[in-house]
C-alpha cells in the first residue's frame, strides 16, 4: 500500500521553533529572496543609512539580481552629482521611460487609420478623464527629450568623454540620437491634423530626393506606403513609433549603458592625468554607494521630475491645439516643420535639395559617428582642446542660425495682400480674429482706415491691426490700398466675417482684390487655447 504522505516543510519549522518565530523567519527568507540578497534588517539599515556590515549585503542585489545587474554598486565621488554630467544621460533614460508609459496610456484610445485617428484625438480630449493632460505630458516630454539628448551629446563632447576607450559608446549614442529624432518625427504624424500631415510631408519629401531617381522613388514608397501619406503611411509610421524604434532604442540603450558601466563614468578632465583613464579604479574614500546614496538621489529626481512634468502639462504647457482634419488637397500657409528639424528646412533654403537636404546632413551624421575615431588627441582637458570646443560652439551657432532660416517667416511669403489677411486669419493657429470675444463682433461693414470709429475696443484693435499690415501691401506697384471687414449674421450663433483687401495696380490702373471669409460660432472657444 503506497500511501501518499503530504509533507509541508513550513509545518515542520513551526513545530520546531514555534509559530511566531517560524513566521518571522519565513518573512525574512521571502524578503531576502525577493530583493536578491537584502534581509528586512539590511533594508532598514539602508533606510537609516547605517554602516553596512561585512560582507556588504547591499552589493548582493547587484551581483545576483536582474534589475540591478548593470547598475554600478558605487560611483566616484566626483561624478555622482550634477557636475560634470548634469545627469543628462540619466535624464534621457528617464524621459524615455516616461514616454513609454504615457504612450501606452495614449495607445488605449488610438487607432492608426485616417478614418478615425483624428476622431480618436477628439475623443481623447473630450471624453476621456485626464486625456488632455496625458497627451500634453507625452508631447512635452517628447520635446524635452530631444533637448536633453542633444545637451547630453554636447556635454559628452565638451568633457571629451568620447575618447579612448569610449569611442563605441559615443557611436551607440549617435544611434540613440537618431532613434530619438525619428521617434519624435513619427509620433508627429499620428494626430492626423493639418499640422501633422504637412509637417511630416515636408520632412519625408527629403527621402524622395535621394539620387538616383529609382532609389528615391522606392524608398519614398517604402516609407510612406504610397506616393503620398495616407492610410498606409499612417500605419507604417505608427508601427515605427510604437514597435520598431522603441525596440531599436532599447537594444541600443542596452549596449550604450553596458559600455558606460563597463568603462565607468569618466572623471572630470582636470581630475586625471592626460591620457589616463582611471574611472574604474575608484579609491575606497571616493566611493559613493548606490544604496542608499545614489538610490535616494535618483528617486528624488524621479519624484521632482514627475511633479514638475505633471504640473507643467496641467497648467503651463498645452500641446498645440488640434488643427483641422488633415486635408491632402490644401496646404496651410506658413506650415512649418517641427522645431528640431528647422535646421534641415533652413539648409534646404540655402540651395539644391539633394546637396543640402541629403548629402550634407548625411555627411554630418557620418562625421558624428566616426568623430571619436578621428579626433584621437589624448587630452580631455578644456585648455588642450580649444579648437574642438570652438568648433562645437560654431556648430551650435550654425544650427541655431539654420533653424531660424527654417522658420516660415524667413524668405517664404505669398503676395502681400494674402499675407495681410493671414495676419488676422492665420491658417496654422487661431489668430486675433478667431480669439476675439464673439459678442464684440458687431454686424456691419468696417473700413480698416476708420478703425478709431469702430463701435468697441475689440473691433478697434482688430481693425487697427488690419490697417497696420495693409501698409505692407502698399508698394511701387500698388496704390489706393484699402481694407474692409464685413460681419454678417449667418445662422443661429454663427457670424460670417469677410476680410477684403482692394488696391489699384499702378501701371495699368486695373483694380485688384483679395478676400477671405471665415465663419465664427459663439462657442468656438478659440481664445481658450484648447
Amino acid at each position: 500500500m503506497a500511501i501518499f504522505r503530504l509533507h509541508i516543510p513550513m509545518l515542520d519549522e513551526v513545530k520546531q521553533k514555534g509559530l511566531r518565530p517560524a513566521l518571522k523567519d519565513k518573512w525574512v527568507d521571502v524578503v531576502t529572496r525577493v530583493t536578491a540578497g537584502l534581509s528586512p534588517d539590511d533594508m532598514r539599515g539602508v533606510l537609516r543609512d547605517d554602516t553596512p556590515g561585512r560582507p556588504n549585503p547591499r552589493l548582493t542585489p547587484h551581483a545576483e539580481g536582474f534589475w540591478l545587474h548593470m547598475k554600478p554598486t558605487y560611483y566616484h565621488r566626483m561624478v555622482d552629482g550634477l557636475y560634470p554630467t548634469f545627469r543628462l544621460g540619466w535624464l534621457s533614460t528617464f524621459f524615455g521611460v516616461f514616454e513609454i508609459v504615457t504612450g501606452i496610456y495614449l495607445m488605449i484610445y488610438y487607432t492608426p487609420s485616417p478614418l478615425v485617428a483624428y476622431e480618436n484625438m477628439l475623443n481623447l480630449l473630450s471624453n476621456v478623464p485626464f486625456g488632455q493632460v496625458m497627451r500634453d505630458m507625452h508631447r512635452l516630454a517628447a520635446e524635452l527629450m530631444v533637448i536633453v539628448v542633444v545637451l547630453h551629446m554636447l556635454r559628452t563632447f565638451i568633457t571629451g568623454s568620447y575618447k579612448k576607450p569610449r569611442q563605441f559608446t559615443w557611436a551607440t549614442g549617435v544611434v540613440l540620437l537618431f532613434v530619438t529624432l525619428v521617434l519624435s518625427f513619427s509620433g508627429y504624424l499620428l494626430p492626423w491634423d493639418q499640422l501633422s500631415l504637412w509637417a511630416v510631408t515636408i520632412g519625408a519629401s527629403m527621402v524622395e530626393a535621394i539620387p538616383p531617381e529609382v532609389v528615391g522613388r522606392n524608398v519614398n514608397l517604402l516609407v510612406r506606403g504610397a506616393p503620398e501619406f495616407g492610410a498606409n503611411g499612417l500605419l507604417r509610421f505608427y508601427l515605427l513609433h510604437v514597435v520598431a524604434l522603441p525596440l531599436a532604442g532599447i537594444v541600443a540603450f542596452g549596449v550604450h549603458y553596458y559600455k558606460v558601466i563597463h568603462h565607468g563614468h569618466s572623471l572630470p578632465p582636470e581630475a586625471e592625468k592626460v591620457g589616463e583613464d582611471t574611472a574604474k579604479r575608484v579609491p575606497m574614500d571616493s566611493r559613493v554607494y548606490f544604496m542608499p546614496q545614489i538610490l535616494t538621489r535618483e528617486l528624488w529626481y524621479v519624484s521632482g521630475l514627475l511633479a514638475i512634468l505633471f504640473a507643467a502639462a496641467a497648467y503651463l504647457y498645452n500641446a498645440p491645439a488640434l488643427e483641422p482634419h488633415a486635408n491632402p488637397l490644401i496646404t496651410p500657409l506658413h506650415t512649418t516643420a517641427p522645431w528640431y528639424f528647422l535646421w534641415l528646412q533652413g539648409m534646404l533654403k540655402v540651395g539644391d535639395k539633394v546637396v543640402w537636404g541629403l548629402i550634407v546632413p548625411g555627411l554630418l551624421t557620418g562625421l558624428l559617428l566616426v568623430l571619436p575615431y578621428l579626433e584621437v588627441g589624448p587630452s580631455r582637458r578644456y585648455g588642450d582642446r580649444r579648437i574642438g570646443l570652438s568648433l562645437a560652439a560654431l556648430f551650435v551657432a550654425a544650427m541655431a542660425m539654420l533653424s531660424y532660416m527654417g522658420t516660415p517667416h524667413y524668405a517664404v511669403s505669398t503676395s502681400p495682400d494674402q499675407e495681410a489677411v493671414a495676419e488676422l486669419l492665420p491658417q496654422t493657429h487661431p489668430g486675433p480674429l478667431r480669439s476675439a470675444p464673439w459678442e464684440d463682433l458687431a454686424y456691419g461693414s468696417f473700413e480698416a482706415s476708420a478703425w478709431a470709429a469702430a463701435p468697441n475696443a475689440t473691433l478697434q484693435d482688430l481693425l487697427r491691426e488690419f490697417d497696420d499690415v495693409l501698409t505692407n501691401v502698399q508698394s511701387a506697384g500698388r496704390t489706393d490700398v484699402a481694407g474692409v471687414m464685413v460681419i454678417e449674421d449667418w445662422q443661429t450663433d454663427l457670424k460670417k466675417v469677410t476680410l477684403r483687401v482692394t488696391w489699384t495696380n499702378v501701371p495699368d490702373g486695373t483694380a485688384g482684390e483679395f478676400s477671405q471669409s471665415v465663419y465664427l460660432h459663439r462657442n468656438g472657444n478659440y481664445g481658450e487655447g484648447a
Partner: protein, 213 residues
C-alpha cells in the same frame, strides 16, 4: 553618515528606535504608495469606457410619446438593446403570470438579451409572449419567465420618468431584496423617459416549471 547619536551595530534588531532619516524614508515610501494607489485610480478612470447619450451603455432619453399604450405589444429600441413595455391591467391579470413576483402597472425596459445563454429573444404576437429561438425560453410581457431553461426573469434597465424641467418624477425601485425592479408609474406631468443602459437590474430567480421560485 548615520544620524548623530543613534549608532548601532550592523544588522540591528527591530528594537532599535527610529531615526529621523528612516522615518522620512518611510513617509516617502508611503507617499509613493499613495501616489501609486491614486495613479491606479486615475488609470481606472482614464481607461474605463464612457458612453455618451444615445450609445448603448449610456443613457437614452425618449419622449413619452414613444411609450406604447398599456397592454399593447412592446416597442423595440435596437440601439439601446431594450424593449419598452407598458404593463396595464390586462397584463396584471394574465393567468400565465406566476404569483411569486410583485407586479404593478407602469413601464419597464426589458434587456433584449435572454438570461439563459445570451441570445436575443423575439416577440411573438400570436402567442402574446417573448420566445427565445436558441433554447426555447419564454417570457411574458412583464418580463416573467414562464417556460424554458432560463433560471430567472428578464433583466431590466433602470428607468426614470422626467417632467418638463428635467426633474425625476418616478424611478425603478428594487423589490424582492434588490433583485427585480418595479414597473415605473407614469404621472400625468411626465414628458420624457430616461433609460440608463449602464445600470441593469437582474431578474429574480425563477426556475419552477410554468414560472415561480
Amino acid at each position: 553618515m548615520s544620524d548623530a547619536g543613534v549608532q548601532t551595530a550592523p544588522g540591528a534588531e527591530a528594537g532599535v528606535p527610529l531615526s529621523r532619516r528612516e522615518f522620512l524614508n518611510y513617509l516617502w515610501g508611503a507617499s509613493m504608495a499613495v501616489f501609486l494607489a491614486g495613479g491606479g485610480g486615475v488609470t481606472l478612470w482614464y481607461a474605463l469606457p464612457r458612453f455618451r447619450e444615445g450609445e448603448f451603455g449610456g443613457v437614452f432619453t425618449l419622449p413619452i410619446t414613444n411609450l406604447p399604450a398599456p397592454d399593447s405589444p412592446p416597442a423595440d429600441f435596437p440601439d439601446g438593446r431594450f424593449w419598452l413595455v407598458n404593463v396595464g391591467d390586462g397584463t396584471l391579470q394574465d393567468p400565465r403570470q406566476p404569483k411569486d413576483y410583485p407586479l404593478e402597472p407602469g413601464v419597464k425596459a426589458l434587456y433584449k438579451v435572454c438570461v439563459h445563454l445570451g441570445c436575443l429573444y423575439k416577440w411573438v404576437p400570436t402567442n402574446d409572449r417573448f420566445e427565445c429561438p436558441c433554447h426555447g425560453s419564454k417570457y411574458l410581457k412583464s418580463g416573467a419567465r414562464i417556460d424554458g431553461p432560463a433560471r430567472r426573469n428578464l433583466d431590466v434597465f433602470f428607468v426614470e420618468v422626467l417632467d418638463a424641467s428635467g426633474n425625476v418624477l418616478s424611478r425603478s425601485e428594487p423589490v424582492m431584496g434588490s433583485q427585480e425592479a418595479s414597473s415605473v408609474v407614469i404621472p400625468p406631468e411626465a414628458v420624457a423617459l430616461r433609460i440608463d443602459t449602464g445600470r441593469r437590474v437582474t431578474g429574480a430567480s425563477n426556475s419552477k416549471p410554468g414560472g415561480g421560485i
